[in-house]
Symmetry: C2
Subunit: 268 residues, 2 copies
């Protein structure tokens, strides 16, 4: 466990480019609107996007020369490799160095008291993801997928990976679910809608909700003001808040179970 | 060098989900239409999509118990981890095992005579990508990106990675460049158009062409009949053929240079 951090929720995807980081940023902000203390650990070492998405720049400071102070915006604390290296430097690091960087971001950061630490996982089901899933004490995982078959295939692999290492999968979010033309209002199911809901059923996982491919969601998160923060009354923000509420319920359930599973000392 | 294989061209992206595999499949088929002998090595071990995209199923055979026969469709030879393991198995492999699998797919496959072997790289700029770029004798690399800033940032990292290991970057392809609504015909620049062209200029790399986000491109490649093969007269297929022609020119230039660079034995 990480001292002061009650729960750690991974946001993962079997495949990149499905909107994992956008989902992680909006989920974190939506958890915050529930009155929770929230942090975001950007574990996507090779393509950190949280600094940009949460609109944070600058370098983290250390008050004691030993631990780093997390950065903060919208009331959410954040640590990312993006704060520590230049944006266009390729992080051509070997596996063990990646894990050590993530361990440091987890344990040598003065997170303070947090109800939830959202971990934006690197996309995929490779070495780094497996090690992360094993070494970070995850309370559970949320899997993001587009409805496209090939993305769902990878989502299934991601789900199997978490199950193999005994991390509860809280559910699946369908992103880029459909596109509404801003000119005529007609809907196009570019990546074919509904696939993630069917896949979730097939896999016995919960379907947490769906978000369209929408310029507003894309632009706000690229611009450092994710839609949950910048348009809290929008339909999209409501979907994110509903997902956050369900994730927090499931995290509490999982914490209860973990507590129950721990051995008891009985004095007779 | 791989015996019989004249040139090896990597199709790479700094970030997943930008359409790298769709581009690789259509590029390979377009190179074929130029009259070249073409193979595709699916090096995306964690998320192999070539079997599905090229519409190939079944298992590769070995005639001598030592080398595998590549699979084939549309006149293009193909090898992929997808042929060797079940589709939904997570490839939770450690780094060195990945490299050894790719080396085997490169060297223990009876590719025969090929003008171009297109390598569908795993997305990203991590460990596996670096090792691949170092250990596979690449003639050059094509980088695929969406116009989205955050994808371009990762594209730049990919470009820097290839330059660091002295692999010529043939150019950048902008994918999901814009979306034409099938209902009203109006254009939406969902991921903001033109970014890859500007980035290519900035980086001193060639801009090879742009493809829209189009249901026809997505569905045909998901359905195993990429648009270059299934609608050769379409505007999209023409763009892929133009890109292929330029890539082949650049490959020939690079081969010439490599030959010139090789030390000569002078008998006096």
């Amino acid at each position: 466990m990480v001292p002061g951090v009650r729960s750690i929720v991974a946001v993962a995807s079997g495949k990149g480019g499905v909107g994992k980081s956008t989902t992680a940023a909006n989920l974190a902000l939506a958890l915050k609107t529930l009155g929770l203390k929230v942090g975001v650990l950007d574990a996507d070492i090779y393509g950190p996007s949280m600094p940009r998405m949460l609109g944070i720049s600058g370098q983290p400071r250390s008050s004691d020369g030993r631990t780093l102070q997390p950065m903060e915006n919208y009331g959410v604390r954040c640590m990312s490799m993006g704060f520590l290296v230049a944006e266009d430097t390729p992080m051509i690091w070997r596996g063990p160095m990646v894990m050590s960087a993530i361990q440091q971001m987890l344990r040598d950061v003065a997170w303070g008291e947090l109800d939830v630490l959202v971990v934006d996982m690197p996309p995929g089901t490779g070495d780094a993801q497996l090690t992360l899933a094993q070494q970070v004490p995850l309370t559970g995982a949320v899997i993001v997928s587009t409805p496209q078959d090939i993305a769902l295939l990878d989502a299934r692999k991601g789900l199997n990976m978490f199950r193999k290492v005994d991390v509860p999968v809280f559910g699946i979010v369908e992103n880029m679910s459909y596109f509404i033309c801003p000119h005529c209002g007609e809907r196009s199911e570019i990546f074919s809608h509904g696939g993630a809901r069917r896949e979730a059923e097939r896999l016995g996982a919960e379907f947490l909700g769906e978000l369209p491919l929408d310029i507003a969601i894309r632009e706000t998160s690229d611009g450092g003001r994710p839609i949950v923060a910048s348009s809290p009354e929008s339909a999209h923000a409501k979907v994110y808040r509903a997902i956050a509420a369900r994730v927090w319920e499931k995290a509490q359930e999982a914490l209860g179970e973990i507590a129950r599973r721990a051995p008891k000392i009985v004095i007779q």
